[in-house]
Point group: C2
Chain length 145, copies 2
């Protein structure tokens, strides 16, 4: 099949497929006489694997490692487990960071519930909190978050 059909079947952009090939993630296919890429079912399988990994936030270098395990099934899969555990740790860390961020933003948002002039906007005052000693229009009572 040609690249367009592969793209349709895998729900992956044509440019992205060529990108994966350049990156050495997807095996280079045979070419037709006119130079068009000619893919097999095996390419579709490979590509689906890559997309599935990516949908789980697994980075391309890690996908490369997983692919190498597929190619050599006699190896122990300890490294696979570690890789997934690391990924879980990373994601968990990101979630925690973003939840903190969300709380901070809500607190910030609550400092300006009404539409007023920017000079009186609690948000702007809070964002400028670090600007101590500046001749700004901040209330002394304006608490930073």
């Amino acid at each position: 099949m040609r690249i367009g059909e592969l793209a349709r079947l895998s729900d992956c952009d044509v440019e992205t497929i060529r990108f994966y090939e350049r990156e050495g993630l997807l095996a280079a296919p045979a070419r037709e006489a006119n130079g068009y890429r000619s893919y097999t079912e095996a390419h579709l399988v490979q590509l689906n694997f890559i997309r599935h990994c990516r949908s789980l936030g697994i980075g391309l270098p890690e996908v490369r490692i997983l692919r190498s395990f597929q190619a050599r099934p006699e190896l122990a899969c300890e490294e696979i487990n570690q890789l997934i555990d690391q990924q879980i740790g990373r994601i968990h860390q990101q979630v925690e960071t973003l939840r903190l961020l969300e709380r901070q933003l809500h607190a910030l948002r609550d400092t300006c519930r009404a539409t007023q002039r920017a000079s009186e906007c609690g948000i702007l005052r809070n964002l400028a909190q670090a600007a101590e000693g500046e001749g700004c229009s901040c209330h002394p009572a304006g608490h930073a978050i």
Copy 2:
């Protein structure tokens, strides 16, 4: 003060400060006779504002907007409120996506609790789930997540 001291005071890398100047976020400072950048307290204030926004995940274009409101305090701050609300929405969406991801990764991880050969690794089998019709070593019972 010179760029190194500003970097220390703002806990921001020297290269990042020059980057903000190139991007038009931080006002270009005066220069010493030798060409070194010469910063004032006002620059430190500006930079702290930018870093504070960035620590809240606010993008550089948005920071630019907020800075323009600082420069023109007579304007209504409605746009500021909208900007923060959008930011909250974005962060919330990211949190939800990542929490789903985390659950999926845990489910995936649970398919391989022991160290075994890669060919028997539930993780690899699950990641390859999309590879139906392939002559792989997957159990028919191996549920994809």
